[in-house]
Structure formats: structure tokens, C-alpha cells
């Protein structure tokens, strides 16, 4: 499925009575993504996370449209089509095991328990996450293993649009290699957007890398 963003604009208002000014995160951004892997790079605050969250239907743009398969897709439709892997792991239930977390979020995404757990097992193997770690309480996992669970949550949905925000963060070399293979595999059927501050990993993952600056695409990165 082809995804197009046209003139995406997102301005975060300043908190009331703060005296601050609104934050212009996206400034009329245009983007096209087909099955395959596209990399995104840009300095901190250039709008990568805002772009991902907008494409995932988590936040609503102030202007612009997003098309999915040629049809306008609102936030609700985008949440059906896209899975977003955030750049931090503070989005899990720390008192539950990794597997229980994946089972829960799988249910919210419409996966049966059997499918969610089976996919979790397969993906864990590729990311070198042991079955003991899958059964371990989330707050007892290392940062790197938490990141793997976060990746598994997104990959297991097998969405038409996969948005990976800093997916290599905290992973060791072998796991990075496993993730590169998973990204390549997902890119056969899905449009995959990956952001990273590690240029060599981004280039290994994507067939092209786009540069984002001040909320706009500034062409292909060299």
C-alpha cells in the first residue's frame, strides 16, 4: 500500500499562560512511502517523532492530508494501518512480564492470544531475546531488552505502515544485525520508515535516506 503525506503541518500550542510561543514541528511536509524501507535523519527537534506520530494517527495534524492507497486516511484509519515503535520504552506495564505486555497490546490490535504469543516468540528469536526474558517482569529487563520488546510489539502487528523511531537504540551488535534483517523482511510487504542518529545503520537498513530539517524534507541525505 502506498502512503502519501501532503502539506502536513503540526503546531503545538504553548501551554496556557506560560508566555511561551507555539512550537512549529511540521511545516507543510510532503512524503511518499511505498513498500520498502526509507530512512529519515535529521537533528534533534527536526520533527521526526512528530511526523511518525502523525502518520500513526496518534496525533492529529493541523493542516495537510494523508492518503493510504489513494484514499484520505484520518487518525482512526491510520491507527488501523500503522504501528509505531517509540524511541523510549516507557510505554509498557512494568509489573507484567514482557510476554504479558505483548499479549495485552496484541489484543488491543486485534491479535488473538495464540497469534500474539507465537509472533512474539518468533520475533524474539530473531532479536536474540531469550524465552526467559520474555517471561521476565518488564521492569527487570535491561534497557536493550526493553527496546526489543518494544520492537516486537510493533513488528508483530505486521502493519502496512511500520514506523520505527530510533529502533537501534540500546541494541548490541548481534541484535542490530537481527533487526536489520527484520526491517528488510518487513519492507517486502510494508512501507517502513526508520529514523536513526546512526548513519551507517540507517544506510544499511534503507534503500534511500531522507533528510528532515525544521519540519520539512530537505531532500535525500548523502
Amino acid at each position: 500500500m502506498k502512503f502519501e503525506a501532503r502539506g502536513l503541518t503540526k503546531i503545538f500550542p504553548a501551554p496556557a499562560f506560560s508566555g511561551g510561543s507555539p512550537l512549529r514541528a511540521l511545516e507543510g511536509l510532503d512524503l511518499e512511502a511505498r513498500p520498502g524501507v526509507v530512512g529519515l535523519e535529521g537533528p534533534n527537534g527536526s520533527g521526526k517523532t512528530t511526523l511518525f506520530k502523525t502518520l500513526a494517527g496518534i496525533i492529529e495534524p493541523d493542516a495537510g492530508t494523508i492518503l493510504a492507497g489513494g484514499e484520505a486516511a484520518g487518525p482512526g484509519r491510520l491507527r488501523e494501518l500503522a504501528a509505531y515503535c517509540p524511541s523510549n520504552t516507557r510505554s509498557f506495564y512494568f509489573r507484567l512480564s514482557a510476554a504479558e505486555n505483548l499479549r495485552f497490546f496484541g489484543a488491543l490490535a486485534g491479535l488473538s492470544t495464540a497469534v500474539a504469543l507465537e509472533r512474539a516468540k518468533q520475533l524474539a528469536e530473531k532479536l536474540e531475546l531469550s524465552s526467559a526474558d520474555l517471561d521476565r517482569r518488564f521492569d527487570r529487563l535491561s534497557e536493550g531488552n526493553m527496546q526489543k520488546v518494544s520492537l516486537i510489539r510493533s513488528f508483530s502487528r505486521r502493519p502496512p505502515l511500520l514506523l520505527l523511531d530510533e529502533p537501534f537504540r540500546g541494541l548490541d551488535a548481534d541484535s542490530q544485525q537481527g533487526l536489520l534483517e527484520l526491517i528488510k523482511e518487513a519492507g517486502r510487504d510494508s512501507a517502513v520508515l526508520v529514523s536513526s542518529h546512526a548513519p551507517e545503520l540507517l544506510r544499511a537498513a534503507a534503500y534511500k535516506v531522507l533528510k528532515l530539517e525544521a519540519g520539512r524534507l530537505a531532500g535525500e541525505a548523502l
Binding site: K10, A56, I59, E60, R79, E80, F105, R158
Partner: protein
């Protein structure tokens, strides 16, 4: 096929109940202390009841029962329906501070399913507490509930629980929008018990407070439930209170679900869904 198409309300509710049960189980002491607090609360009113003996206050004549039986029934009833009023905002705030709210709402989960599931565990636990109250009432405090009209009490119960769940959902809109500072929760926590006849019949209130009390659904809920349980009142006697509760439901249920959707939409617009 898009996997979200298979998401059913039942699957979502089941997933939330399992999650909350496992989480609660991981805090064992908290569970035990909660149960003890319920018993301690009951003991306070039992001894107050003993202090005043079996003498019936004139304000209780309408219900045909003594003070302890009155307050015991009201607390058991209010403990359950109050779950709806308090748990939505509490649960939502917890999700915000844990950072899981945005993650849950970045899935295709429908708002109605989310609302049905969010407090399902709290209602289940409240049902268990209600059972404890019922057993304690029958076997420890030997309450006489032989006159009770249980079908009528059940109807009052359903209408009241729905009404308070709607109030709870309305209250959680403030949590979505402002994170902290919830005027509706403040009113529900501080005035429902005082003005709604939970700890004493509203007849003891002065006229101007009685007028305020008549604006609250809890007043109708508690009165109707007490009458059904202690006097065996039927539908003809309770029709006024039932009608008021039904009207509250008719307005509050759709309004609360709609306003909650608007609050979530607003948070998506301002980018504050993940904030706390």
C-alpha cells in the same frame, strides 16, 4: 485482512481484566490492607449503631430499619456504584503517569471498548467486596433482610451503576485535558456521601442543603435501594426515583461517551495524549 477488524469488545475487556488482575496480584499487601479497611469501616458504624441501641430515629421511620442496617446497606451499595464514579479518572491517571495511555490509544482500540474495559477490573473487585458485605451482613451482623424486594433492588442497582459510571467517565475527561485538578472528582468524593444519604437519611439536612441533595443522582439511588431492601418497596412505590435515575442515564451515558471522545481528540490535536 487488517487484524484490527477482529478486535471485539469482549476480547478487549478480557485483556484489561487479565492485565489488572496480574498487576494487582503483584501488590499482595495492598489487597490485604484494602479488605481490612472495609471491615474496619463496618466496625465503626456497628459500634455507633450499638451506642444508639435499637431506637429508631424519626428520619429512619420511612425505611423501617435501625441506623446500623441503614448505613450498612448504603455503604455496600455506594461502595459498588461509587466504583464507577471514582475508578475511570484514577485508572486513566495511572495510565498517563505510566506512559501507557498513548501506547494503548495508538492501537485501533475504539473509544467505547476502551471505556467498557478500563474499569472492568474495578467493577469485578467491587462485586467481590459486595459479596463480602452480604456475607458479613447475614452471618456476622445478623441483618434482617427478609422483606427485601430483590428484583426492584436489582433494577435500582443497574440504573445507579450506569449513572455513576457516566459520572466517572465525565470526570476522566478532566484528567485527559488537564492531567491534575479534577473538579467533578472533587465534588463526587466530598459531597456525594454527605448530601446523598449514604451515612444518614437526607431528611436530617436543612432545607437549602436538601435542595442541593435533590440535584444529585446518589440521593435517588440510595433512597430507592434502601426502600427496596428494607421495606420491600416495589416498582409502583419507587417509580419516581427510578424515573429520575433513568433520565440521568439517558442524558449522562451518551453525553459522557461523546465528551470523552472529544477530550481524546483534543489531546491528539494538542499532542498531550502522552503527557502527565
Amino acid at each position: 485482512m487488517n487484524p484490527a477488524a477482529g478486535t471485539t469488545a469482549f476480547a478487549v475487556v478480557k485483556a484489561f481484566i487479565r492485565r489488572d488482575f496480574l498487576t494487582e496480584k503483584s501488590y499482595r499487601l495492598s489487597f490485604a490492607l484494602g479488605a481490612l479497611a472495609t471491615l474496619a469501616n463496618l466496625a465503626v458504624f456497628y459500634f455507633i449503631g450499638k451506642l444508639f441501641g435499637g431506637a429508631m430515629a424519626p428520619q429512619l421511620e420511612l425505611y423501617g430499619t435501625g441506623y446500623f442496617a441503614y448505613v450498612f446497606t448504603a455503604m455496600a451499595f455506594f461502595g459498588y456504584i461509587g466504583t464507577g464514579a471514582g475508578s475511570y479518572a484514577g485508572r486513566l491517571r495511572l495510565e498517563q503517569t505510566q506512559g501507557t495511555l498513548e501506547a494503548a490509544l495508538s492501537t485501533p482500540l475504539r473509544t467505547v471498548h476502551f471505556l467498557a474495559a478500563m474499569s472492568a477490573w474495578n467493577f469485578l473487585f467491587a462485586t467481590f467486596e459486595l459479596l463480602v458485605y452480604a456475607l458479613a451482613g447475614s452471618f456476622i451482623f445478623k441483618l434482617d433482610l427478609s422483606a427485601a424486594n430483590w428484583p426492584a433492588a436489582g433494577l435500582v442497582f443497574l440504573l445507579s451503576a450506569a449513572c455513576f459510571a457516566a459520572l466517572g467517565i465525565l470526570s476522566s475527561c478532566f484528567v485527559v485535558l488537564f492531567k491534575r485538578g479534577n473538579p467533578l472528582a472533587w465534588v463526587l468524593n466530598n459531597f456525594e456521601g454527605l448530601l446523598g444519604g449514604v451515612y444518614f437519611p437526607v431528611a436530617v439536612l436543612p432545607g437549602w442543603l436538601l435542595a442541593v441533595s435533590n440535584l444529585l443522582p446518589v440521593t435517588y439511588a440510595v433512597r430507592a435501594f434502601q426502600l427496596a431492601v428494607h421495606r420491600g418497596a416495589g416498582l409502583s412505590e419507587l417509580k419516581g426515583d427510578l424515573l429520575v435515575l433513568f433520565l440521568f442515564d439517558l442524558v449522562l451515558l451518551p453525553a459522557s461517551a461523546w465528551l470523552f471522545s472529544l477530550a481524546i481528540k483534543r489531546a491528539r490535536k494538542t499532542g498531550t495524549l502522552g503527557g502527565y
